[in-house]
Symmetry: C2
Subunit: 332 residues, 2 copies
């Protein structure tokens, strides 16, 4: 393994100067810097992050801007993953400060972000961006801070960690088509709700079915208050040949209600919650396609760490966490 000392000796200069070149210090003559960097490159020098960590006492400042949504499960799991990464790298002094703001108050997030940027000059920001444009502008103003957007992309230039809701919708459709009997149909209900995840679930679901069995879909029937009106809608639209039902939101609520009516639909859904868990356990639902949020949190925590502490940039700027298919048997 080649060290800074090796480089210094060959070039007949001090270790300090080599370190300076490597760390992008201002106080170094251009030519010496170039000379050093060139040699480092030739010899394949790579900095030992362990030594760096030991020598660097200053803690890096990292903030994770998460959102509080109705789905408690989501941020709970995400935080679990972040904590796991934190724990794993604790001896590097790795710490992530978590800031949760309400999904319905995007300005809160923006204001807090602005404050943090000004006061703390953080090294890293992990954010589920709500006001994308404004956040993009902030990111541009602080080029020294490493930004990762979580679950919602802003643009190609910003590292992104997320899941593929669209694909999850397609997966649910794939499974559902396989469990449905020949000639039967599936009723699709949805709200006009604009939450990213549900919209993408539905789009994916429909895209997959339309590829193959367009005619099995009844709907989608949209309703703004689906949670309350679902039962009426179902009663109005139900026919003999409808065997399946799908909705990207409130599916669990809907199933519960239809259960009382002895309507035993075949159901494959998206996402996880206590309700969904129990529905699968009790065979009121066949399967669900789940985003492993803990894994996602861990992944984003690790990517931030690798960037900040190991100079790792990964190949791409996009990291997609794979969804899981859950049937009763692997409900756990």
């Amino acid at each position: 393994m080649v060290t800074q000392e090796d480089i210094a000796k060959i070039l007949n200069i001090s270790r300090t100067t080599v370190a300076r070149a490597l760390n992008g210090s201002e106080n170094i003559k251009k030519e010496t810097k170039e000379k050093i960097l060139k040699l480092c490159d030739e010899l394949g020098y790579v900095k030992n992050p362990i030594s760096t960590s030991l020598a660097t006492k200053k803690q890096k400042k990292i903030f994770a801007f998460l959102i509080q949504s109705k789905n408690k499960y989501y941020s709970m799991e995400l935080i679990k993953g972040l904590k796991k990464a934190e724990k794993e790298f604790e001896f590097y002094g790795y710490k992530i400060e978590i800031i949760e703001t309400n999904i319905d108050h995007p300005l809160d997030q923006l204001n807090q972000l602005q404050n943090i940027m000004k006061e703390e000059r953080p090294d890293g920001i992990i954010i589920v961006p709500l006001l994308k444009e404004e956040i993009k502008n902030i990111q541009l103003r602080y080029p020294k801070t490493f930004f990762i957007t979580l679950d919602v992309g802003i643009d190609e230039s910003i590292t992104y960690v997320g899941v593929d809701y669209f694909k999850s919708g397609r997966m649910a459709a794939d499974i559902l088509m396989n469990v449905m009997s020949k000639g039967k149909k599936v009723l699709v209900l949805d709200t006009k709700d604009d939450r990213i995840s549900s919209e993408l679930y539905l789009k994916g679901f429909l895209s997959r079915i339309n590829e193959e069995k367009k005619d099995i879909i009844v709907g989608p029937i949209y309703d703004d208050d689906l949670k309350n009106n679902a039962l009426d809608i179902i009663k109005k639209n139900i026919t003999k040949d409808i065997e399946g039902i799908y909705s990207s939101r409130f599916l669990a609520d809907i199933i519960k209600k239809t259960k009382d009516l002895q309507l035993n639909f075949k159901v494959v859904g998206n996402g996880m919650s206590e309700q969904i868990y129990n529905l699968i356990l009790n065979k009121n639902m066949i399967a669900t396609v789940v985003e492993p949020w803990e894994e996602e949190g861990y992944a984003v925590g690790k990517i931030m760490f690798n960037y900040l502490y190991k100079n790792d940039t990964y190949n791409g700027k996009k990291y997609i966490v794979e969804s899981k298919i859950v049937f009763k048997e692997n409900l756990r």
Copy 2:
């Protein structure tokens, strides 16, 4: 964070002595050692593995005894995972030497293991144990070496990393029951082959189906040369109401053959291979339940690292890597 120096100061002794107590050195009076350990415990001292790594130049010796079986995919992926762990911890000087022996020559493995133990005095051994008793004896003779058995357990006292083939079989059954039409049956074929994985797949598969729909199973029909005789067996046993087919081995081969006969079974299997991949891609197979071997390799590499370099023992001694359900849509 409390350091060895802190401990030393409080006790009015040297850092060296503290280190000695912590590292289980012989050259230390019993009382001083106890005193030190007690204080460390009280103050919640935990060694900084980064400093240790930097100070310790001697590389630890780790060997992974894998087996070459017919399934190339298996060890390829496993090795990929091990390499990934190696890469991640390279700055700690983490290296794993891989030794592959043939599954049909268990004595080869034993001999090589004996040699390595004698000549190298390794710090860690990862092994897919073939001759369990003999390997257990070796493990007992070298208490300083940390053993992990992979994929095959020896006993409760040895850390184990593996997959749950039985559960995978159950998962396949769960899926298959959901995709099968009412009143239809599934033909189950198998060899008397004693490979652990296939036997457990089958047992799991049958256990799940018998829990619920005992009568849908036709078979299992056993044949020693299933690969060649499958078609005849199927012809002999096929009836109108048989819709599904399952085998823990050669399933892909069997499907390929039945395809020519226009027998379009509904198939859910276990494991992954190029053949299975293509069958799913072309819809000759609905789904498969897969052991993520790369993940398993990475997991075992990381557990060994954590033990040797971080004194991490995990809570349990058993680490099960979860299987994945793969339909066409998440075939990748």
